[in-house]
């Protein structure tokens, strides 16, 4: 409840700023206009079309980036050799922000859909890999020892020990990955798009319809919160499942 105070205060400030004309109305449209535009876009279906395109991009990127991240994370976590070869490079590469990859990616994959998916995937790989690797590295040594006493095969170790013990961290990584994807999406869609939420925002700015930009901000924020809440819910359920495995 208290968390709602700040947004309410901001809304109030926004309304006051508009009424007192602190900023020209072309730059800061009134909340009522933004609300109206939001409803118009939702009713015409345009908003859902853009949102579907954006979510699809995030979906593919999470699939590609997430599986790459899981593979990398497991390899680095489980194999000492892989760790020796891959970890230092990965640590350096993971420092680049997504924005920094874009010029290079444009040269390799052009400015089409591939650019968006590739850039967002990179944003997903890093948190997923790091968390997977950490999850595995932090498995208590005694669990492994117990498994050894029971003479588990490698596969059994992974299934019965590693996966359940690393699950919280794995999910944390995936959740961070999805959030990273969602955040990078908007930036990537600013470039050379013809659809998507980020595109809607650029479009609004080019035609001086700043209400569209603010609609975009609201949608990005809302979807982000919903995604996060949904993933947290899933995480909790899976964790309970993971505990039952012991």
């Amino acid at each position: 409840l208290l968390g709602g105070l700040l947004p309410l205060a901001l809304l109030l400030l926004w309304q006051v700023a508009v009424q007192r004309a602190w900023l020209p109305e072309q730059i800061l449209p009134p909340p009522s206009l933004v609300w109206q535009s939001l409803r118009e876009l939702a009713e015409s279906g345009e908003l859902w079309g853009h949102l579907a395109v954006s979510l699809q991009r995030v979906g593919w990127s999470v699939l590609i980036g997430g599986s790459t991240g899981l593979l990398l994370g497991f390899a680095i976590g489980l194999s000492r050799q892989a760790r020796a070869y891959l970890l230092p490079t990965f640590e350096v590469v993971s420092q680049f922000p997504v924005v920094g990859w874009v010029p290079l990616l444009i040269i390799f994959v052009g400015i089409d859909e591939a650019l968006k998916i590739a850039a967002i995937s990179i944003a997903v790989v890093v948190p997923v890999t790091v968390n997977t690797h950490k999850g595995i590295a932090n498995i208590p040594q005694r669990l492994i020892e117990v498994a050894r006493v029971y003479r588990f095969s490698a596969l059994q170790v992974i299934r019965r020990v590693v996966l359940p013990a690393a699950a919280p961290s794995l999910f944390n990584g995936l959740r961070q990955g999805v959030m990273q994807a969602w955040l990078s999406l908007v930036f990537v869609e600013l470039l050379a798009s013809s659809e998507g939420i980020g595109y809607l925002m650029v479009w609004g700015r080019q035609l001086m319809q700043l209400d569209l930009v603010l609609v975009g901000v609201i949608v990005v924020g809302t979807v982000g919160v919903l995604l996060d809440l949904g993933l947290r819910g899933l995480e909790r359920r899976f964790q309970r499942g993971a505990l039952n495995a012991f």
Partner: protein
């Protein structure tokens, strides 16, 4: 004798009293927004009356004695960026293509159109040199770039409509003019409406569709003053417009053709050769006419209707009420240029020359 001396003294006194008032009534600088920039953001532009005025320094000469600085501000973000700057009170005068002029006006930006800055251009849909497309229909579903929110987007929409298409038949992406040219060379886009001849000469692109005979395909350029500035400094406003008309006169003179194209070509976004070829067969003074004639008014109204039809503006734009011809008329009178430029009708045909007799 006494009376004469008295009146002389009185005149001096009055003049002295008027001086500080006059000093207050002039700005320290005049900020002029140009809705483009040269390659790499260089402060250069071409193809319009204000470009010529900037390049030959007409306004700088006009205001040197007053110590008023002319500050030219170039916007790589083109017309939309200039609208934002204007909304934030960052410019006093500005040039605009038809769409951003209408978009800005429709959101309630307060300014007056004081002269036409360019008109009658051709449009070329350009594709990469090895494109297999033979007609616009072959580009269906492919990537066409336009600088959204600029007059170029209206040109694209007109070209598409002329051929029975809309933006929805293609993937229309937003790139600035400079990037469009580069993206054609790297084949990252399948088409764009840009200046073709330099790209063609370099072998990186070719013309798919040329529209040369249509005086309605490219909207007119406009030059405006902010209402606030106009009210505060009417004399200065008049002098700026008179200065621009002088530049238009210079630019309309056929003996300056070569020189003018070279100056314009420096910007790079439309290279020299494109000016030479695209103005071939045109009298300079027909395309650089500052007149707010029947042709201008009809064209800008048409653009407003199109912007509404293509859903680029959401509010009505009462274009007629933005036009203020009195400064232009005064300048034409002062410079004895009435009748120098030919008036055109709504279809772009020269009107019978009855300027002196008429209004």
């Amino acid at each position: 004798m006494n009376r004469r001396l008295f009146s002389l003294l009185a005149a001096i006194g009055l003049a002295a009293a008027a001086l500080p008032a006059a000093a207050q009534n002039k700005p320290t600088e005049i900020r002029i927004g140009v809705p483009s920039a040269g390659t790499g953001g260089r402060p250069l532009s071409g193809g319009s009356i204000y470009s010529t005025a900037h390049l030959i320094g007409t306004l700088e000469d006009e205001f040197k004695a007053d110590g008023i600085k002319i500050k030219w501000i170039f916007f790589p973000g083109a017309g939309p960026a200039l609208n934002e700057a204007f909304a934030n009170n960052g410019v006093d005068f500005g040039g605009h293509g038809d769409l951003p002029l209408i978009v800005g006006g429709s959101t309630g930006l307060k300014r007056k159109i004081v002269l036409a800055s360019s008109r009658f251009d051709d449009a070329y849909l350009v594709v990469p040199a090895d494109s297999q497309a033979r007609s616009l229909a072959d580009l269906k579903g492919k990537r066409i770039a336009t600088f959204k929110g600029t007059s170029g987007q209206l040109v694209l929409n007109r070209v598409l409509e002329k051929n029975g298409f809309t933006e929805k038949d293609f993937k229309v992406i937003n790139l600035d003019t400079e990037t469009q040219r580069a993206a054609l060379a790297t084949k990252d886009i399948d088409g764009a409406i840009v200046a073709p001849f330099d790209l063609e000469a370099r072998g990186v692109a070719k013309v798919l569709l040329a529209i040369k005979d249509d005086r309605k395909i490219v909207g007119p350029g406009s030059f405006w003053v902010s209402e606030e500035f106009e009210k505060k400094y009417p004399q200065i406003t008049q002098r700026v417009i008179t200065g621009l008309v002088k530049a238009a006169r210079w630019g309309s003179d056929e003996k300056n053709r070569e020189k003018e194209f070279q100056l314009w070509g420096q910007a790079g976004t439309v290279p020299y050769i494109d000016y030479v070829k695209r103005w071939n067969g045109w009298a300079l003074k027909d395309r650089l006419s500052p007149l707010l004639d029947e042709n201008y008014v009809a064209a800008i109204k048409r653009s407003a209707e199109e912007a509404k039809r293509y859903k680029l503006i959401r509010r009505e734009a009462d274009v007629q009420s933005w036009i203020e011809p009195k400064y232009l008329n005064q300048a034409l009178k002062d410079l004895q240029l009435e009748g120098f430029w030919t008036e055109f009708d709504a279809d772009g045909k020269p009107k019978a020359n009855r300027v002196a007799a008429g209004s």
